[in-house]
Amino acid sequence: MNILLVGEESAGIRVLRLLAESCHRVVGVVASPKPRYGSPVTLWNTALKLGYRTWAAESVKDPSFARRIRTDEVDLLLNIHSLHVLSTEVLQAPKIGCFNLHPGPLPRYAGLNPVCWALYFGETTHGVTLHGMTAEIDAGPIIYQSLFPICEEDTGFSVSLRCIKEGLPLVSRLLATLAEGLENLPKVSQDRNHWHYYGRGVPHGGQVIWSVNARQVANFVRACNFSPFLSPWGMPQARAGDRIFSIITAKRTGSSTNSPPGTVGCPDSFGIRVACADEWISVGKIKFEDKLADAIEVLHAGDYLEEHGR
């Protein structure tokens, strides 16, 4: 098959390597020439190194790019973590179709940052979905899906890595099935009652709200935790007087409290306790004045963490 890869990030690089080792022909790669985080390791650079043609990521929004796809007799367009919406003409140009690898268990968690949202809502399972692409984002028929458990220690970063790991075999499976014939491809329509799209925003504008349950605070913190790397949601912000800091790790203690939410309590083996609506949460690592620190170095019993804007 002739395959056009549209992608970004590590998942895109891994899929390109997979394609390069397959019996299929990579027609070219559509990606961002400019690295998002300044990293020299990009899909664009990997494609160039492997000798593939490249086009800028925005090309897929241009209806005239469909002509290029037809000229190159592309059978399959694979969209791997690219955030650009394909024009209708481009969507219709490949002979077999366009498929997207989404790091979420569709029909739930369509849209942006599905890993963060799933952790934020305290999900105990997550998944990655390979689906056919339609004009509506993340709404096409499900081809293959892999679900996996999330444990309390999981963070945004660990779940994102798991999505890449679970997603690659789905792409291999798609290629193997298509090699046997299009008629063998499963296509399950998404249940619209469970379909939910999440956008670019971050809950509470990225601020920690102490007047909610400890479970919710802990989930928000781990959803944002891509440490030691940059988080798509940034790091949750908190404030004690004029000390503004970001929380990297926090965990539930199971100890109930009647103290006003935001009250800083005693240190424990993990960090220092802060009152939430129902129980103490222990805050471990923070970032203060651009430096990684133990919360205990910055917070003291009796401090009070305010909620921004309240």
Partner: protein, 86 residues
């Protein structure tokens, strides 16, 4: 099993030739210095699997093991040839 020096040198080569970053020293903090970002980290895992034949499960390993070339070396050497799973 390769000695620590050989592993360290091979790692330095991966950083230089595959990840295109220069690491100031074997004990330099790869995270704090910003040498390693998330993309490069995933690529590093791939390269370690390719070059050293190990399978790295992040569920079972500590990110701290990746903080410097020195620490990665010790982690790889800890395999001792008995198990290829980290």
């Amino acid at each position: 099993m390769q000695d620590l020096q050989t592993i360290g040198n091979e790692l330095a080569e991966i950083f230089s030739l595959k990840l295109h970053v220069e690491v100031p020293s074997y004990d330099a903090d790869l995270f704090e210095t910003g040498v390693l970002d998330s993309l490069q980290f995933v690529e590093l895992l791939f390269q370690l699997e390719q070059q050293f034949g190990v399978h790295i499960s992040l569920d079972e390993t500590d990110l701290e093991n990746f903080r410097s070339i020195e620490r990665i070396t010790v982690m790889l050497a800890g395999q001792n040839g008995n198990s290829k799973r980290i």
